[in-house]
């Protein structure tokens, strides 16, 4: 009996696979002199997860905006289910069955889940009044499979980021879309939450929906996608079955040349015999982290891993007084015990923090590179009478950004015009302006494309080699394993143990992160 159904299933799914949902042929789009799309092709079939890869600026977003009707192509054809279409805007895209889950969550935080899910639907309906019961029922239906635990009457702001992402997906599905675009859906999720999303993606695929999946994370693409299309400089480079290619091949296609090793060499000296730069004892705020102990050594990159909500960011912010602590002792390399009243004190003792949200609080987007770099210590570039020495400011910015090989059109260029990777370099240059001994980096490569990521990793290693102690928080396990000398794993605010370079595996980190003690680890 089981054999029969399976046969029937596979034959029907095979039939489904042959239908092309979306076919984009030779699309061109220019903005002024910049050719954003220069002969882009893309084909999406029913019931597949199709990854779209390319560096920032390769044309992925422009292509998606063409599909969503935000941009009109200069030339080229779009076919939806074999019909040639011109898509004039989001509403028309919705009518054609295209659902778009944007990278940034675009929900109304104070409004209920039900109303959010039905937003587009309410907009399209011609009725004068809203039937709230019907709204709730529709929302419940849409969430039934994705996340039945979410109460549709809740305000969206009470949900976690991952739940909000699911609400976004439900919002797209409620319009009966069969083409679903997911733009970096896992960027804000922890690995565990991502796994839940992948299960759902597969369910949707089995329902016959075609999913366009955009991600910088190669591991995810190779584990969960069926085909992968690579764009470079707005042109179509390759479309392959994931099974027939490798991450190296894809990255090569994306950047157009070899990248060398993905991660720099690790520290060769015995870490724990190096001088201790910072020792943390019994640090806690009695809410998000408890009794944290560790020491950071000269030349070390110490990773901090854990699930979202494990208290990682809160803990490191506690160290440098960006968050209050209730208890804890910090000791510096000279044996001096310190307690910081404000982040300013921490900066003065050479401990700086690079925030996880670059655009939100890492850089001043509207200000120039020079002004960004000097923000941490304006006093350093002043003359005797307290005014800013513009020459000194420019020189400082030039020196530090050169050190980080930042490419820019000059130090007075606003940071908003730089790419994500270069913005991050500006943020790091700002940290370096006070010649810190300890740099804490919270998700230093989030939202940065592959090439720039490799560069940031090298840069972090160079800093360590110069004698700085670096603490790196990352939700990307391959990065934690590839980059760090030791990794501290947190679970619900507690330090579960520190893994050494030779002990680092994804499995071990995940086990510790989910609450298993180090002593109980499977070998």
């Amino acid at each position: 009996m089981s054999v029969d159904t399976r046969l029937a299933d596979s034959s029907s799914s095979e039939h489904l696979l042959t239908q092309t949902l979306l076919d984009i042929r030779n699309v061109h789009k220019a903005f002024g002199a910049t050719k954003a799309l220069n002969g882009a092709n893309f084909e999406l079939r029913r019931g597949e997860i199709h990854a779209l890869a390319g560096e920032n600026g390769a044309g992925k977003s422009t292509l998606m905006k063409v599909i969503d009707g935000i941009h009109q192509p200069d030339s080229g054809d779009i076919f939806v289910k074999s019909n040639k279409v011109t898509i004039q805007g989001a509403i028309q895209a919705q009518r054609l069955g295209i659902g778009f889950v944007h990278q940034e969550i675009a929900l109304c935080p104070d409004v209920s889940v039900a109303e959010n899910i039905n937003m587009a639907w309410i907009n399209q309906s011609k009725k004068w009044f809203i039937n709230y019961r019907q709204l709730r029922e529709k929302a419940q239906q849409a969430l039934a499979e994705l996340a039945p635990e979410i109460d549709v009457n809740q305000a969206v702001k009470t949900l976690s980021i991952s739940q909000q992402q699911l609400v976004e997906i439900a919002k797209a599905l409620i319009l009966d879309c069969d083409i679903l675009i997911l733009d970096e859906p896992t960027a804000a999720l922890t690995d565990a939450e991502s796994q839940v999303l992948f299960v759902i993606m597969k369910k949707l695929r089995d329902r016959g929906i075609g999913i366009i999946y955009i991600s910088h994370r190669m591991a995810e693409v190779f584990e969960h996608c069926d085909r992968i299309t690579v764009l470079r400089d707005g042109s179509h480079i390759s479309t392959q079955e994931v099974a027939n290619t490798s991450a190296e091949q894809v990255v090569r296609n994306m950047v157009g040349r070899e990248l060398g090793d993905l991660y720099p060499n690790k520290c060769e000296l015995p870490i724990e015999q190096q001088e201790v730069l910072l020792s943390v004892k019994a640090l806690s705020n009695n809410k998000q982290f408890f009794d944290i102990n560790f020491s950071l050594h000269r030349g070390e990159i110490l990773g901090v891993a854990g699930l979202m909500g494990a208290g990682r960011s809160e803990m490191v912010k506690g160290i440098c007084a960006l968050q209050p602590i209730t208890q804890g002792q910090l000791t510096l390399s000279n044996g001096q015990h310190v307690s910081f009243k404000s982040y300013r004190d921490s900066i003065e003792q050479g401990i700086v923090y690079l925030s996880e949200d670059r655009k939100e609080n890492g850089v001043f987007l509207d200000l120039s590179i020079a002004k960004n770099v000097s923000a941490l210590a304006v006093e350093q570039i002043t003359t005797n009478i307290g005014t800013i020495d513009n020459q000194k400011e420019l020189q400082q910015a030039q020196r530090l950004t050169d050190q980080l090989t930042l490419k820019s059109g000059g130090m007075s260029q606003p940071v908003s015009s730089l790419s994500g990777g270069n913005q991050q370099k500006v943020a790091i240059a700002k940290m370096l302006s006070v010649t810190p001994s300890v740099i804490i980096m919270d998700e230093p490569t989030r939202g940065i494309d592959v090439g720039a990521k490799v560069e940031i990793h090298r840069l972090i290693r160079n800093l360590a080699n110069e004698g700085v102690g670096v603490i790196v928080i990352s939700s990307e396990l391959p990065e934690v394993i590839g980059l760090c000398d030791r990794v501290l794993v947190m679970h619900e605010g507690h330090n579960q143990g520190i893994l050494h370079a030779n002990e680092l595996t994804e499995e071990r980190i995940l086990q510790l992160a989910s609450g298993i003690k180090k002593e109980q680890l499977s070998a």
Binding site: E55, N56, G57, V255, R257, E258, L259, G260, D261, P264, N265, L322, S342, Y343, R344, S346, I347, Y353, S355, E360, N361, G362, V363, F364, L365, D366, L367, K371, A375, L376, V378, E379, I381, T382, G386, T387, I388, N390, T405, K407, S408, G409, G410, S412, Q413, P414, S416, S417, L418, S419, G421, N422, K430, D449, G451, A452, V454, E455, R458
Partner: protein, 335 residues
């Protein structure tokens, strides 16, 4: 495992119209546009009216905006930090009334003025604490303060103007005297503007005003005490309003409890026309002063052209709308 340094990773550098020649940079500056517009108005008006380009008219125009201009300086700093102050008109009036009342009670006028400017600063401190400790928006706090200050002025005077003709001549000199034919008020105004424009562009502490206004969170993550900056900016704004009140008192030889009603709107408009962004992080003293100069030149022109005074507010409203629209459109184009 060789660390291949020969492969430098790719970088996305987006070309921008960087610095360029000095002339190009001048054209891009908001101040430059305003200067051009004001000059154009001057040329047109000098043909349209024989009285426009006379020393008397120039003096009248400058007099009309120099005292308000002092308040504009403080307001600009506050707007750059991302705040706004609706109470400046009322605080200015209260400063005038307090100083006048103390003088009538027999106090030395200089000391009375100093005390009343100090009181203005204290009102700013109170507002600043509401903004940073209770986390209220400056709009609401200053709206409340507008009522409180005006109410205090009314209570102190019981609604009737205080006549201060007994003020000593050296005190009256502030508002009425001239230095080599130039009204002293204009001299004070220029000194304050030049110093504050320079400091705002170059002083380290005032640079933090831009950081805080541009991105509060990023400023905090740069170790800047943003609460201190905000409170400081509000105090600066009300203190300058107090100073303006004293100058008016000396000029009129009276303290009127309903003086300066609606003044705040003119001042905010001037700062915004001058390029200050209500989102914070942008603006300059020079721009704001050119903004108020433009409004004043327009007013004067309309009077000389015999346009009904009823049209004046409408035209000023349109200028504000056009100025901010141009700004927004240019901003969107850059992106």
């Amino acid at each position: 495992m060789a660390n291949s340094d020969t492969n430098t990773a790719p970088l996305n550098v987006q070309p921008t119209a960087a610095s360029g020649s000095i002339f190009k940079r001048f054209i891009k500056m908001r101040e430059a546009n305003l200067i051009v517009i004001i000059l154009a108005l001057f040329i047109v008006m000098s043909f349209a009216s024989p009285y426009f380009l006379t020393w008397a008219n120039m003096k009248a125009m400058m007099l009309s905006f120099s005292t308000e201009g002092i308040v504009v300086v403080g307001m600009t700093v506050l707007i750059i930090v991302g705040g706004i102050d609706l109470s400046v008109g009322a605080v200015m009036c209260l400063a005038m009334v307090i100083a006048g009342k103390l003088f009538l009670m027999g106090m030395n006028p200089w000391l009375a003025s100093l005390i009343s400017i100090g009181c203005s600063g204290l009102l700013g401190l109170a507002m600043g604490l509401c903004v940073t400790k209770i986390r209220l928006h400056t709009f609401i706090v200053s709206l409340a303060m507008m009522g409180i200050a005006r109410g205090l002025a009314m209570t102190i005077t019981q609604g009737t103007p205080l006549s201060l003709f007994t003020l000593p001549p050296e005190f009256k000199f502030i508002g009425q005297g001239t230095v080599m034919g130039v009204p002293f008020v204009i001299v004070i105004f220029f000194i304050i503007v030049i110093i504050s424009d320079y400091l705002l562009r170059h002083h380290a502490a005032l640079r933090k005003v831009y950081y805080t206004g541009s991105n509060e969170a990023a400023a905090q993550y740069s170790g800047i005490n943003i609460d201190k900056i905000k409170v400081g900016a509000i105090i600066l704004c009300t203190t300058f309003a107090g100073l303006a009140g004293i100058i008016y008192m000396s000029k009129f030889g009276a303290a009127t409890p309903n003086f300066g009603v609606g003044l705040e709107l003119n001042i905010i408009a001037a700062a915004v026309i001058g390029g200050a962004s209500l989102k914070g992080g942008e603006g300059s003293v020079l721009g704001a002063i050119l903004g108020i100069a433009l409004l004043s030149v327009v007013s004067s022109s309309l009077i000389l052209l015999d346009v009904s005074p009823y049209w004046q507010d409408l035209i000023k409203g349109l200028i504000l709308l056009v100025a901010v629209s141009i700004d927004q459109i240019l901003h969107d184009k850059q992106k």
